[in-house]
Symmetry: C2
Subunit: 455 residues, 2 copies
C-alpha cells in the first residue's frame, strides 16, 4: 500500500493522487441502483498519456485492480469502485485536440464532455450526433466505454458508429493505436470497435478520433396522443415501414405521461395512454410531419399536434426530458431497464411490461426510443421497504427475460456493468461467453482492468 | 487423406465433395495478382449449417487447414487455396431467409449474391447499400469477410455498418451466434464486428442479419473536367467542407481518362487531367448539383456537365465503370492498390503516385472513391517482362508506403490476404499485431482457419 502510493506520487503531481477517504467516497459509484461499490485505495487524476501509462505499469507491478471512470453518469455500476482498487478518473484529460472540417473528424481526449464537443463541432458547421440524456455532463471516454446511445440514434446511429480510431493504454502500460483517421479502412481485425462498449475492461482510452457529420437543419417535432400504447406502437411500425427517416421517434406510456403531468402540468389529458413524439430535420420537415401525422391518425391517434417552429418543438420535447425526473418522484427510488427489441415487437414489450407491473403491484413507467425498439421501463419503488425493493428487483429481471423472449437484448445503450452480469451470460450463451472471456485474457491476462464487471 | 475424404463423404452429399483435380484448380485463387495458390485436397460445397459444422469437426479432428470461399472476386489472395487444404465454398448456401420491412433487416445465408439481395430489398422499398464493383457476382459472405466498400460508401458507409448479427461455425464445429436483430445493442464485446473483415480466419459465417435502409430516390450525376488532379482534389475538399452529402464522389486521373477514351471513345478531351463525378439522391438533386458545380468551377474546372435525368446520369457513370477494364488493356497485367488517406491528403496521394509512376517508367492510372479518400492506383505492366514486373511490385509497395506516410491505411476496402501481409504488420505495429494474433488464437487455437492470411 505504501509502495503503491509512493510509486504513484513519484509519477503524478501531488494534486493528482487523492487518498482523503471523504473525497474518495465521492468517486465510489455511478448512477445505478442496487450495485455494490467499495472504497478505493487511491483515486488518480492523470493529465497526460504518460501519467496513465505510469499508473498502469504500477498497477501491473503491484497487481492492483484499476477502475477507469469518466463522469460516472452510467446506469449499470460499470464505474463503481472495488475495495482497494485504483480509481483512474480521466476527467482531467479534457482537451479537444483537433477538429478538421474537410476530413470531418475530431480528435479528443477521453475527459471531454459530450456537449462541449457538440458545441465545438457546431462552430465548424458540423455535428457529433450521439446524445445520451446525460450529454451535458457525461464524457466521451465514458460514452465509448458504454457504447452510449441517445435520442437521435434512430436516424444517426450510436457512439460506436462515430469512433474511428483510438489510443489505448494497455494493462501493462504499453500504448496501442487502433483504427484510422480515414473515412474507410479494413486493415486487420477491428480492435477499435472491440473497445467500444468494453466498459474499461480491455484498456484505458486516452485519445479518440471521432467522425463528425454536417450539422442538420433544426428539427421540427410532432406530438400524437393515443388511447393505448398498442396503437402508438402500430403508428411507429407504420412510420418505419413506409420508409420515413425521423430524427427522433420517442414514446411515453400513460404512467409516464401522468407522472410528467403531475410534475409540470403539461396539459395532457389523463386519458392519454401513450404520447408519441416524432421529429424531422429534413429539407421540408413540415411535409414529413404531415405524412407521419396521417399515419398516426390512421393508427388511432386522438390528437396530433405538429409544432410550427423550433420554439414549439422545444416545448414538446420538454415532456420527454421530464420523463425520468417525474418518474423518480413516484416513489423514493427507481431502477431503469434498457431492453431493446425488434421494433415490430415494441407493442408486445410494452404490454408485457404493464402486465409485470400489475403482477407485482408496482408503478413501472415506460419511455422508449420507439424508432429503435429501445425501451426504458422505469421501476418505481420505496427503497426502505424491503418487500417492495424485492418486487422491484424481480420485475426488473422479468422485463429482461421478456426482452430476450421477444428476440431482443438486455441492453440497448446502458451497458452491463455489475447490474446485468448474470443476464449477459444468459444472452450470450456459453460459447459466446467463453470467447468474450478469451478476448479479455488476451488484453488483460492479470485481470486488473475493471475486474468483476461485464462477466 | 483417405480418412479425410471418407469422413467428408459420410457427412455431405456426393456432389458436395469434389476431388477432380481439374475442377479443384478452378477453386484455387481469387482475382489478385502475385499471390501464391496451392492445390486443395478437396473442395466441399455444403448446403446446411450442420454440413459446415461436420466439415469443421473433421478439419479439427484431422488437423487439416480450411480455406473459406465465396465468389472469389477478392483482390488480395485471401481466398487462395493452400496445398492440401479443404476449400470450403459457401456459394450453395444462397437463400434469403427473411426480409422484414418494419425492422428493416434481411436475414441471409453467406452465398447470396450482393445484387440478388439488393434487388430483393428493392421489392420492399428497401436498399442494401454496400455496392462493391463486383456486386453482380460477389457474395454477402465474401463481403463480410473482406469488409467490402463500394461507390455509395461516401454517403451510406461500408459493409461493416450493415452487419447486425451473425451465426458462425467455429474452428471446432461449434455454432456461435453474435449480435442482434435489433436496431441497437451493447451486450458485451462486439464479436460481430470482429468477424467483419476477418477474411475467414476466425470462423465460418453461415448466416447474417443485415440492416436495410429505405430506398433513396434515383441519383443525378454531374461530371467536371479539370486540368490537374490537384484542382479536382481541391474541389473534393471544398464539397465536403461545405457540408454536402453526395451519394457518389469519384475521381479518375488523366491516365485513366485517356485509357477509357481509347477503349470507348467517351469524347473526353485528352487534355483532361482529372474527371470528377458527383451524384446526389436527395429530394432536390438538381439544386445540390448546381451548388457542387459552382464549387468545381471555383476550383478550376474547365467543364461542368450536370445530367438532366437518370439516363444521362447512367451514361456519365459508364466512364467510371470502364476505368478498370480500360487500364487492364494498357499492358498485359495490373496490380490494384487500395490506399485510403484522409481526404484532405488526397491531392498529395495522387501527386505522389504520379511521381512513383515516373520514377519506375510505368503507367499507373488512379481512380478513387474521392469523397472517402480511397484511391485505387492501378499499376499496369507486362507480366512476361521480369524487370517490368519487379518495378510494378516496387511501385505497388511504394504507393502503400506513401499512403501510410500521409496518415492513411494500406487497405480501404480490399483487405489484406497474402498480398499485404507484410504491410499489415507495418501499419499495425508490434503491439497491435500481438493483440491481433492473440485474438486469432482465442478463436482458432490450432490455426486451421485460412492460415497464412492477414499475418
Amino acid at each position: 500500500m505504501d509502495d503503491l502510493l509512493e510509486r504513484l506520487r513519484a509519477a503524478l503531481p501531488a494534486e493528482a493522487v487523492i487518498t482523503d477517504p471523504d473525497v474518495m467516497v465521492s468517486y465510489g459509484r455511478d448512477m445505478a441502483s442496487f450495485c455494490a461499490a467499495g472504497l478505493p485505495a487511491v483515486v488518480v487524476l492523470p493529465r497526460t498519456v504518460e501519467q496513465v501509462q505510469a499508473v498502469m505499469r504500477t498497477a501491473t507491478a503491484l497487481r492492483v485492480p484499476v477502475v477507469p471512470q469518466g463522469a460516472r453518469t452510467g446506469l449499470s455500476g460499470a464505474a463503481n469502485a472495488s475495495d482497494g482498487c485504483i480509481v483512474l478518473s480521466l476527467v482531467k484529460m479534457d482537451r479537444i485536440l483537433e477538429i478538421n472540417p474537410v476530413d470531418r473528424i475530431a480528435v479528443v481526449e477521453p475527459g471531454v464532455i459530450n456537449a462541449v464537443l457538440s458545441r465545438a463541432a457546431h462552430e465548424h458547421g458540423l455535428d457529433y450526433p450521439p446524445d445520451p440524456s446525460s450529454w451535458e455532463s457525461c464524457t466521451i471516454g465514458g460514452n465509448i466505454g458504454t457504447a452510449s446511445g441517445g435520442l437521435c440514434c434512430v436516424k444517426y446511429g450510436v457512439t460506436a458508429e462515430y469512433v474511428l480510431g483510438l489510443d489505448v493504454v494497455l494493462a501493462d502500460g504499453r500504448l496501442l493505436t487502433t483504427g484510422r483517421r480515414t473515412a474507410k479502412g479494413v486493415a486487420g481485425y477491428d480492435l477499435t470497435r472491440l473497445f467500444v462498449g468494453s466498459e474499461g475492461s480491455l484498456g484505458i482510452v486516452v485519445k479518440a478520433v471521432l467522425g463528425l457529420r454536417p450539422r442538420p437543419p433544426a428539427q421540427l417535432v410532432l406530438a400524437a396522443e393515443f388511447d393505448s400504447a398498442a396503437a402508438a406502437c402500430d403508428a411507429v411500425c407504420a412510420i418505419m415501414e413506409r420508409g420515413h427517416t425521423p430524427s427522433l421517434l420517442e414514446l411515453m406510456d400513460g404512467t409516464t405521461v401522468r407522472a410528467v403531468n403531475a410534475m409540470a402540468n403539461m396539459g395532457l389529458p389523463d386519458t392519454t395512454e401513450a404520447l408519441l413524439l416524432a421529429a424531422f430535420d429534413t429539407a421540408d420537415p413540415a411535409a414529413d410531419l404531415a405524412a407521419v401525422g396521417e399515419l398516426c391518425r390512421a393508427a388511432g391517434a386522438s390528437e396530433v399536434v405538429p409544432a410550427d417552429d423550433a420554439a414549439e418543438s422545444e416545448l414538446l420535447l420538454q415532456a420527454r426530458r421530464l420523463a425520468l425526473p417525474a418518474l423518480e418522484t413516484v416513489r423514493t427510488a427507481t431502477m431503469i431497464d434498457d431492453v431493446c427489441v425488434p421494433r415490430s415487437r415494441l407493442g408486445a414489450m410494452i404490454e408485457g411490461t404493464a402486465a409485470i407491473a400489475d403482477k407485482h403491484g408496482l408503478t413501472i413507467g415506460v419511455c422508449a426510443h420507439a424508432g429503435d425498439g429501445n425501451t426504458h421501463p422505469v421501476v418505481c419503488f420505496d427503497h426502505q421497504d424491503a418487500d417492495e425493493s424485492r418486487r422491484a428487483l424481480e420485475s426488473f429481471d422479468e422485463i429482461m427475460a421478456l426482452g430476450l423472449e421477444l428476440g431482443g437484448t438486455i441492453t440497448g445503450e446502458h451497458g452491463v456493468g455489475t447490474l446485468k452480469k448474470e443476464w449477459l451470460a444468459r444472452e450470450l450463451g456459453p460459447v459466446g461467453l467463453e470467447l468474450q472471456r478469451g478476448i479479455k485474457r488476451t488484453f488483460d491476462p492479470l485481470n486488473l482492468l475493471n475486474p468483476g464487471k461485464l462477466f
